[in-house]
Symmetry: C2
Subunit: 578 residues, 2 copies
């Protein structure tokens, strides 16, 4: 594989070529056409970046994939760089140190930040948009799945209305055009969905809103089913890659607005070279604040999802002695979820980690790591679904039999924090980083913590990770702006991870609501039993117990009508008062 | 009074003159020489700003002083402007609207921010440094109190060592000089104290640190007792007001560093006009992180203070039927505190508010408002002392007899939050705004809140309000930088205020400490009983009760050895387990 790549590099005059795992839209899961790194390296993990020269090649990936990458790269001549291990250079340092001439890349697959970082280092960075097509024989075409319109019953707001809202912000900023590059943003604005990206029901497209007109850049065949709706909304449909020539119409006399952090490096350069660019995200906040229709279907789909998860919990506990492996359990979870009416797909790759594997935060079982689940200890299952009208994300940690005392204590502290945050009330103006300590304090008080945010925003039949809302005390620029507002959906998922021993995470999605007294609070969207067998009752505070009982009462009330008699009895027991 | 002022204004050519309540160092309590506003208006409150023209005069003050100002201004020809009331113009708007020619002021009594604000409005602002001397016959001289050195046993760090630390920061910023204008900063750096400002044991001075030399600008007589120590530390003593001519030595070729927000407007202008100025505070953070010596004496003095407060609580509860007034009670508190060995003075004017008065956050009883304390309801007493080696600040809300249920609930929620914050543990990197919600959550959950920060930094034999640490979720620029560090002293003082009904605030000072596991936490510095008669036991959580009992146990252990047999018995009862 590398041979053809190196030939194309030599022909084009690139001394080094950089291949991230990315599509031009910054999607979490690029489609087949964009799995360039996988094609040329043979490494099939979901995260990794490759750099190739005439005589060297390196692949950088993180701890989740060390074993898998070692195996898959064997004999390929590609050096594995284990990210985060001491003494391992990062890819930029390596590129800078080993570069003799030009560093090539398809600028559409670099984020603006990556491109700027490299340019700032003084690296001679050159765009080779056609090089991969040249080197990759039989490259899969772009995903041909048709787009479809999502009706107002689900979106709650017409495209025309959303365009007006974008234009209002453009007018405030004095902008002539707004550029949409993230697929979720396009899907939200144009009320369309598709099936081009795994786990994310969106269609490959770009968009541009001008003062009077709006354009959707999408493959003609893909757009066929939505042409009528687009015309009705006053949106002109143009070819997918047409955006790159289209934006040349903007010159020094124009102000172009875009969320620069979401642009790929080529769009970023093209826009910044030609016109005045305003870094502004006109969509994220509107998308994050769900309207009544979106909330209605989110709530509905979460109940179905809760039934699927309950069935999984019942099944895995009943089959604790059968040596079911993590991968088998993960598949079962996916199967039970897809059986639910309206379920399109999972919303991400299920994390199913047993025992010490649960201590690996982003563990993904594969052939190298898969182990049977035994009738003791804890199983962590983090999964979610894309439903028609809603996206779910839920983590339950399940006791498979006897659980060591220390692990029960950890489980109970995580539960205590999760419930405390879910029960928080706060005045308007509070952001997630003001409340993060509420979830962490039970752990902090025992000198424990977890090395990830407590929560992230979740879309509506869109991405399972979205901003600006979140719960992170170590605020990023994203959470910094994340004032919590009614209608926002955020995950509440504290955890505890003890390397080589166990891991616990308990996650509900919560909807931000305004209380009668004007304060804000949360309502759980997620309803599924929390395993009482793993609770250490002496560690749980009275307040925590009261909150758990209150939640479980609601779980039973909401889910039991959707269950069989058998299941109902089981659920009654699982959600009993303690 | 106004006549002589107007005459001086006419002679000098000032059409309007602005008189804030301020000294040139931004002190909270200016000395007699600087009580210019009081002299010319007759209004004796601690806060207020006056503006005078040839035929008009206005005084702006806040809600605490409306009654008093009305009475004291009667017949003076000065219009009272009640700040914060709707329709009342603020002083800057009024000045802008009524100004015909030049607006005069002594620029040393304006903060840099005030001066800049006025200048930005296009007001013709002129410095009249001698006008007040001209107009004020028999103006009291500058406070003549001698300065004194504070030994290394108390400061824990020599001036030479502190100078080195300041110069290190200067070198990092490439600065030639560092300007010290705040009296606390000078007192800390030069290890001196004095008696020139009420409630704050500091001496009037400025300071300048250069790469090789250091200068203390202080009245010769005042400096006499410290001359030897200054010489030993390599500090040259120059006349107090000499700084204004001294800084003319800095020109365009110099970089001068200063915390611009702490400079008066004249220093600010003089420095910015002449040289390159770097806005940098080299002292606040070092001052906030107390060393072992400072902590040792802080802890010691807090015990004495706790004895005084305990005696006060015992006294006021025993005399509940005697109709003692708020002012009398406040005086008693001060008297008991000053009886403690090493107590220099109070650290601020005691807030002693009974019943509805306690709902006024900065209530200060005066002849107009003073009421007798009755044998029911709640009395809020917020007070503190300056001790040799430490500064205290404590609030207790005391039940004077039967307390209505609603007030007990409010009291208990405040207590719950205060104890929860005091018991918080957190990783390094946390700032006060990450933890503020911990103190507020018990109130927030009932739709209640308080309209002030949960805590402020406290000095060591210095100001009772200092930065950068604090607990405020609505972060100011100050708290934004306020990463909590071991050795910092911060108040923990949630409250609840129901207008015309009652107010509760419970305040301990806490010391930030590093735990054995590397996490940070707090230890109370304040030890005094928390009134159990006001607790509603059903509202208190189990965790809160456990924390309260633990704290009270420690109160008894620490204070009882310093008490009489009688007092001990009383304390035993007050700190009993519940």
């Amino acid at each position: 594989m590398l041979k053809s790549l190196r030939a194309a590099m030599a022909a084009a005059g690139a001394d080094m070529f950089l291949i991230p795992t990315a599509d031009p839209h910054g999607s979490e899961y690029p489609g087949e056409h964009y799995k360039v790194r996988r094609h040329f390296s043979g490494f099939t993990g979901s995260a990794g970046t490759m750099a190739v020269t005439a005589d060297e090649a390196g692949l950088w990936t993180d701890g989740r994939y060390f074993l898998q990458a070692e195996r898959e790269l064997e004999g390929s001549g590609i050096t594995l760089f284990k990210m985060g291990q001491s003494g391992v250079p990062d890819i930029y340092d390596w590129a800078e140190a080993n570069l003799k001439g030009t560093l090539g890349a398809d600028f559409r697959t670099l984020t603006a930040a990556e491109g700027k970082d490299l340019a700032n280092r003084g690296v001679k960075l050159v765009d080779f948009p056609g090089l991969i097509d040249e080197a990759w024989e039989n490259r899969p075409p772009l995903s041909p799945e048709p787009a479809y319109s999502l009706g107002c019953e689900y979106t709650g707001r017409s495209t025309a209305d959303k365009l007006t809202a974008v234009r209002k912000q453009m007018a405030e900023q004095g902008a002539d055009a707004y550029i949409i590059s993230a697929l979720e943003d396009g899907a939200w604005l144009f009320n369309i969905r598709g099936a081009d990206v795994k786990y994310l029901p969106v269609a490959l497209c770009y968009g541009i809103v001008e003062k009077e007109r709006a354009y959707l850049f999408m493959d003609e065949k893909k757009a066929a089913p939505i042409m009528e709706d687009m015309a009705a909304a006053g949106v002109e449909v143009l070819p997918y890659n047409g955006i790159y020539s289209f934006i040349s119409r903007y010159g020094a006399e124009h102000k172009v607005m875009a969320p620069l952090g979401k642009l790929n490096y080529r769009l970023y350069l093209d826009l910044c070279d030609r016109s005045n660019v305003i870094d502004y995200d006109a969509i994220s906040l509107m998308k994050a604040v769900k309207n009544d229709a979106e909330l209605k279907y989110s709530r509905l789909n979460h109940l179905k999802d809760g039934v699927a998860v309950s069935r999984f919990i019942r099944w895995i506990k009943q089959n604790a002695h059968k040596g079911i492996t993590e991968m088998q359990a993960g598949e079962k979870m996916g199967q039970l979820r897809r059986e639910q009416e309206g379920c399109i797909d999972e919303s991400f790759s299920t994390i199913c980690g047993y025992g010490p594997h649960a201590a690996i935060v982003h563990y993904s079982a594969n052939a190298d790591t898969d182990i049977p689940i035994e009738p003791h200890g804890l199983l962590l299952v983090d999964s979610g679904g894309q439903y028609y009208g809603g996206t779910t994300d839920i983590t339950r940690t399940i006791s498979m039999g006897p659980v060591p005392y220390e692990q029960k204590v950890g489980y109970t502290l995580v539960l205590e924090g999760m419930l405390a945050l879910m029960d928080a009330k706060f005045p308007k103006g509070c952001a997630g980083y003001h409340l993060d300590a509420i979830a962490r304090m039970p752990l902090w008080q025992r000198g424990m913590d977890y090395n990830h945010g407590t929560g992230h925003g979740v879309g509506c039949m869109l991405s399972v990770h979205e901003g600006p809302n979140g719960f992170r005390w170590q605020k990023t620029s994203r959470s910094d702006r994340g004032e919590l507002m009614p209608g926002m959906i955020t995950s509440d998922e504290p955890g505890v991870y003890v390397e080589n021993q166990y891991g616990v995470r308990i996650e509900n999605l919560v909807e931000c609501v305004e209380e009668e007294n004007g304060f804000l609070g949360f309502r759980s969207l997620t309803f599924a039993p929390i395993d009482l067998d793993a609770v250490d009752i002496d560690t749980l505070t009275e307040q925590g117990r009261e909150r758990l009982n209150r939640y479980h009462k609601e779980v039973y009330e909401k889910l039991s009508p959707l269950m069989t008699e058998d299941e109902r009895e089981w659920l009654k027991q699982e959600t009993r008062e303690i």
